[in-house]
């Protein structure tokens, strides 16, 4: 369970949001809504632990994130605007290294399963530089299956994904929720999920 208590974020002298509280329970998918520049990405980064200009409390599994930061970082995957994938490395190398940085070893069969789920079967040894923007995005999304995080923080995950892919990704979100996972995402795309989506409206301060 993820609990946010009284989050506050500033950009320069401008307040993006304050007194933001919300609870995300296992099996819940929440979509952050709001106009451009309202702080959707900042909120996701703040939860992930990338933002230093913040105040408020973030609790994970009933204890403060700072009490067991390592556990939190093991459980969370943040995928931002930037894919976080090295183009000079191959698809398999990228995924292996990213998993290993979390202390997980990726077996070949697990990697194969993840790649076929994201539609990149047979691309293991292809340098990412040779992939298209959408395929690159899919490599980043494959981490949802190779690293199996509990909480997905997805910032505009539908960018550059084709129409069929949008449907697949929506299926993954619902699957993850049904298995007791949690998803917090921002998107301007109209979500069409099997499971209910909790809207979180950010209002310009």
């Amino acid at each position: 369970m993820l609990e946010l208590q009284n989050l506050e974020a500033w950009r320069d002298d401008r307040c993006l949001y304050k007194a933001l509280s919300l609870t995300l329970r296992p099996g819940q998918v929440a979509q952050i809504l709001g106009p451009n520049g309202v702080g959707k990405t900042t909120l996701l980064k703040q939860i992930a632990g990338l933002s230093q200009f913040m105040s408020g409390n973030i609790r994970w599994q009933h204890q403060s994130v700072s009490a067991d930061l390592q556990q939190f970082q093991q459980d969370v995957l943040f995928l931002g605007h930037l894919a976080g994938i090295k183009s000079a490395l191959t698809v398999a190398e990228n995924l292996n290294i990213l998993a290993a940085c979390r202390g997980q070893t990726l077996t070949v069969s697990r990697l194969d399963r993840a790649l076929s789920r994201v539609g990149l079967r047979g691309y293991d040894d292809t340098p990412v530089a040779q992939l298209s923007a959408g395929q690159k995005r899919r490599v980043a999304l494959a981490r949802l299956f190779t690293e199996a995080p509990l909480l997905w923080l997805l910032d505009e995950p539908f960018t550059a994904i084709d129409q069929a892919g949008v449907g697949e990704l929506e299926g993954w979100l619902a699957d993850h929720a049904e298995q007791g996972g949690m998803v917090l995402l921002t998107t301007h795309h109209r979500l069409n999920l099997r499971c209910p989506v909790t809207p979180i409206e950010l209002i310009p301060a």
């Binding site: 933002s51 943040f78 190398e93 290993a100 940085c101």
Partner: protein, 225 residues
């Protein structure tokens, strides 16, 4: 597990360096160009060249390292891998250290291996070459660590190129002074252990502090975007 993540980053950076060979070859070529131009521009007189060799080799090495260090974190910052590194459970200073070490193997160690060639070109006697290589091994790692702070501070700037040397040059100067002094002392047949020990002390200080400072600067840079 902490060490495993650092080792992964180390291996990844070596592999990246190997695939993008231009990045580490450029500083080496720059180094060799400076060394070959000196006799043409100053004087071909062997005695005079021997006098200047230590200083010239060290200045060229310092500039080559500075040239190479600018990009240490930039590509990771641009493609988002830096964000992901910050989110791994491993401590960031350790990952920074791994990155610097991988980078040093491709710049500092490579320069130290080239240095005997440069020394011969500038008429250094072979007994001095050993001291030259040792001073370069100790000194360039210190330079890399210090420059990493500058590279981390300027990672978010599009044109940070000149800023890194400007910020870190004052901290490079002690290394330059004692490293060239060790070569000069060896040339005059004086003991060099004192100088090398001092270079070692600088290195230990930089090893302890620079990764912490660079990690803090990186966190700040990422949270500013």
């Amino acid at each position: 597990m902490m060490l495993q993540a650092a080792f992964q980053v180390f291996k990844r950076d070596l592999r990246l360096g190997w695939r993008q060979s231009g990045e580490w070859l450029n500083p080496l070529i720059f180094f060799l160009m400076v060394i070959t131009l000196v006799p043409l521009a100053i004087s071909p007189d062997p005695a005079r060249l021997r006098e200047l060799a230590g200083g010239i080799i060290w200045i060229a090495a310092l500039l080559a390292v500075l040239l190479a260090m600018d990009g240490l974190f930039r590509s990771d910052f641009d493609d988002g891998t830096l964000e992901q590194l910050l989110l791994t459970p491993a401590p960031l200073p350790l990952l920074v250290l791994a990155k610097v070490l991988a980078h040093w193997l491709q710049t500092g160690v490579a320069l130290a291996l080239l240095a005997p060639l440069a020394g011969v070109l500038l008429n250094l006697p072979s007994s001095v070459l050993v001291v030259l290589v040792m001073s370069l091994l100790l000194g360039t790692l210190t330079l890399s660590l210090i420059s990493a702070i500058g590279a981390a501070l300027t990672v978010g700037l599009r044109r940070g190129g000149v800023l890194v040397p400007l910020i870190t040059l004052p901290m490079h100067i002690p290394v330059l002074i004692f490293a060239t002094a060790s070569v000069q002392a060896s040339l005059s047949g004086l003991p060099v252990t004192g100088y090398l020990a001092l270079l070692g002390a600088f290195l230990i200080l930089a090893l302890c502090l620079a990764p912490l400072a660079a990690a803090a600067a990186l966190r700040l840079a990422v949270s500013g975007t």
